[in-house]
Symmetry: C2
Subunit: 166 residues, 2 copies
């Protein structure tokens, strides 16, 4: 089977055993989770989420600056009150700097210039969690009433480890 | 239990029954999925993904313009060759315009001005899937060799329905 055929087969099986009917749009547990796109993270399994429970926002690194638009919609239109930021060990974002990916793009994509794009790499995982939580705590579009928690997710064990603010 | 205690308890259970050891960083199935943050979508269950299979990028609406940074990293540094764009029925992004959320923010957040932010709402789901796929197909940072598929995910049934390009 091709990749797409495999996904259709898995989807057809899911349709038959999932909960029946349409759940409400606002997340039942009033939480938004920001995490990395990393293939080894299955947020529903790792954090115990069912259909309808939580917004899940994912991008390379689980960076909160890029998640801001989604978080504001989540809070202002759909009533979430907690943010969980979970970045992870062995993250690809720890392995390069902007100049490296700019050079890869120039080489692989026929001289394309991506030097105007900040790919948001970082060099210290725990400090980056603190910085990304602080970005939200200090942002005028995130109400002070929102609870924000920072974690490191260990991709070797699956364990969520809290990162204390400083 | 508080929300955070519930998540810890679920995580502790996951740690005990998940696959042991650390999987490779590059996605085994060489695919990146772009979908919405919507709480009713569980991509791993709905699309048949195991730990290590696929990058999953999620934001409000599953918009591909905001996913571009992550997709370039996914392809250029981590070897993915297929993109699946899955936007969904009953999406919150179909229910407002920028002026509406700008007014909500101004009212709820003590006069805060977010008029410089495009919250990327849309009014026609299937056309938006086509437009978001076309954005990637026409982008100089996405190689022509990448396979890109567009879908509507029906949140009432869990079914993935292909959207034909035009």
């Amino acid at each position: 089977m091709t990749l797409v055929e495999e996904i259709y087969a898995a989807n057809a099986a899911y349709v038959n055993h999932r909960p029946k009917g349409q759940l409400p749009l606002p997340p039942a547990r009033k939480v938004a989770i920001v995490t990395c796109m990393d293939a080894r993270i299955l947020p529903a399994s790792a954090f115990g989420l069912q259909e309808g429970d939580a917004h899940v926002i994912r991008n390379a690194g689980g960076r909160t600056s890029e998640a801001l638009r989604s978080l504001v919609i989540s809070q202002q239109l759909l009533g979430t009150e907690t943010i969980i930021v979970a970045q992870h060990t062995d993250c690809g974002m720890l392995t390069f700097q902007n100049k490296d990916i700019h050079a890869v793009i120039h080489k692989n994509l026929h001289g394309a210039d991506a030097t105007h794009i900040d790919f948001l790499p970082f060099s210290n995982l725990e400090q980056n969690v603190r910085d990304d939580v602080a970005f939200l705590r200090n942002h005028e579009l995130i109400p002070k009433s929102i609870d924000i928690y920072g974690y490191v997710y260990d991709v070797a064990t699956g364990r969520l480890v809290p990162v204390n603010s400083e």
